[in-house]
């Protein structure tokens, strides 16, 4: 699999083969994605919109074609449900600001969970603060799994919205999205699913999940930086005010007010990240060709293998549950700060993440300031994990 990813054919500046264990932060790019972007800029670049010349019409057609591709990738009902954003964070802020914010009155509450990334936590916290509402943070069970009883109690109290991750970027916990959405809908609470850590790893089906909004970033599923997707049900997207105003989203501009184009265009003000979107199209096609079932199976096998290897080391503490988890493992090595560990492993060409992983509420819950984290993509192998384990052992020796 690594042969599709040119970065792995090189060595690191220290002359080591690259062992990349940080796909949860961002994935490496396959040749076909890079080539698609290069080809676009080299051979038929233009902005989208109403250019009735080649290459503008070609670019617009491709852009809309990727929208269609995303719709079918997510099993959305219609292309109109797909809005391109600059990333997951941007998409969540749009929903918080333009969909949820206007519905809030003082005393209302919005629900999120203890395992959210800052990007799916702060936007809700800040709108609640502004509107004098309560941000309810649904708790976890001891094993890091969402406490659905407590969640239900909160939903029953009349929450206005639920924002929930599909997979924790720290614990790897994979939430049972279908069940949780159905629970929320019993109480008429719309749900946004943060699929940033799901999109590259298993099949998303917005109709089966029945979520109201779903968001992800291109750079975490083998695609370009600076592009993300906001899926929303037609009625909700239509009801939602634009978050940004500008070129391309307007119908008629009058002095005092203006009218806007139908969805999805009203939510895409300004010149879009055309190259980014086209690169995302190539990435999704690549993923689908590999088959998400195969990717899932491969990564699950790796995760189980890694969990076993790490569990066998007395000096390692693993966080979270062993069951139902995506390819993300957080841990700590006794007496070695994650940052020292990361620097140490880097000298062997091994890339791991250290820190709070933009999940401070979860760190507080785990009662640690930082963890080390490894995460896998389709290009990882058992050899990578063996190298990691060997690296951990020498780090343990070195820092004693």
């Amino acid at each position: 699999m690594t042969n599709h990813f040119p970065i792995f054919s090189k060595h690191t500046p220290l002359g080591q083969p690259l062992i990349y264990l940080d796909s949860a932060a961002s994935t490496q790019k396959p040749q076909v994605v890079i080539d698609t972007i290069t080809d676009f800029y080299t051979n038929e670049y233009a902005s989208t919109g109403r250019g009735s010349y080649w290459p503008a019409n070609a670019a617009s057609a491709k852009y809309e074609q990727v929208r269609h591709q995303v719709a079918s990738f997510l099993n959305a009902k219609s292309d109109r449900e797909i809005v391109f954003t600059s990333g997951t964070t941007d998409a969540i802020n749009k929903v918080a600001r333009s969909f949820v914010y206007p519905t809030l009155s003082p005393g209302d509450c919005v629900v999120t969970t203890t395992m959210e990334h800052h990007s799916n936590y702060l936007p809700w916290q800040q709108i609640c603060k502004e509107k004098k509402c309560e941000l309810v943070v649904a708790p976890l069970n001891q094993n890091g799994i969402l406490n659905t009883l407590a969640l239900e109690a909160q939903l029953a109290k009349g929450a206005k919205f639920l924002a929930l991750t599909a997979v924790s970027n720290v614990l790897g916990t994979q939430n049972d999205v279908t069940a949780i959405v159905s629970l929320a809908h019993q109480y008429d609470v719309p749900v946004l699913v943060d699929a940033a850590q799901a999109v590259a790893h298993y099949t998303i089906d917005v109709q089966a999940w029945d979520c109201d909004f779903l968001v992800f970033s291109g750079h975490k599923c083998y695609g370009s930086t600076g592009v993300g997707v906001l899926y929303g049900k037609t009625d909700y997207l239509a009801e939602m005010q634009p978050a940004n105003y500008g070129g391309g989203m307007v119908q008629k501009v009058n002095t005092i007010d203006s009218s806007f184009r139908p969805i999805p265009h009203k939510h895409e003000a300004g010149t879009p990240n055309v190259a980014g979107v086209i690169g995302l199209g190539a990435a999704l096609e690549f993923l689908q060709k590999k088959g998400l079932e195969n990717v899932y199976e491969h990564e699950q096998a790796l995760t189980v293998y890694a969990l076993n290897q790490l569990a066998a080391m007395d000096s390692v503490t693993i966080y979270g549950s062993v069951e139902q988890r995506g390819p993300v493992i957080s841990f700590n090595l006794d007496g070695v700060h994650p940052h020292d560990l990361s620097t140490f492993l880097n000298e062997q060409g091994i890339c791991i993440r250290a820190g709070h992983h933009c999940a401070q509420p979860l760190m507080q819950w785990l009662d640690v300031a930082a963890t080390a984290r490894v995460s896998f993509g389709m290009y990882n192998t058992k050899v990578d994990i063996d190298q990691l384990v060997a690296g951990l052992k020498s780090a343990y020796q070195f820092f004693r």
Binding site: G49, R50, S52, A56, N57, Q251
Partner: protein
């Protein structure tokens, strides 16, 4: 002059774009329909007098490119005197003729040479919205009515 562009603007289109037979407005219209393309600013207002499902009168005015003007003129001709029900077939034919993904060839769809004049839009998908501007607006207005 290249052949593609000749095909697109073949005589019928340039002719119909300049045809003022139906330009104007109706003070006693039963339907006033706005056709507007936000991307280019083209805009037509269609005035229809519909009685017993039959389009008795139609006038339009506005601003647009030759393709949108001509297609509006052809729309006027095609619908005048027809019942809305009967017009449904013409409408679908026209949409198929300009559809670059259609399976049937334009000639298999219709033998009305004015409708067929727009077939070259298949080669210029970015101009399709010009050809269908008034047609789409009409359908939308009469369906929501």
């Amino acid at each position: 002059m290249n052949e593609r562009i000749k095909a697109l603007y073949k005589t019928h289109i340039i002719e119909k774009a300049k045809d003022e037979t139906h330009t104007g407005q109706l003070t006693d219209a039963t339907h006033v329909i706005e056709a507007y393309n936000p991307l280019c600013g083209d805009q037509f207002t269609l005035y229809l007098k519909v009685e017993d499902d039959v389009v008795k009168e139609l006038k339009f005015n506005g601003y647009g490119c030759s393709i949108s003007k001509a297609s509006t003129a052809v729309l006027a001709e095609s619908i005048l005197g027809k019942s809305l029900t009967d017009f449904g077939k013409v409408w679908s034919d026209f949409m198929e003729i300009v559809n670059e993904n259609a399976k049937a060839s334009p000639e298999q769809i219709s033998n009305n040479e004015y409708l067929l004049a727009f077939a070259a839009a298949r080669e210029f998908p970015e101009r399709k919205t010009c050809a269908t501007l008034s047609w789409e607006a009409l359908a939308k207005a009469l369906i929501t009515h």
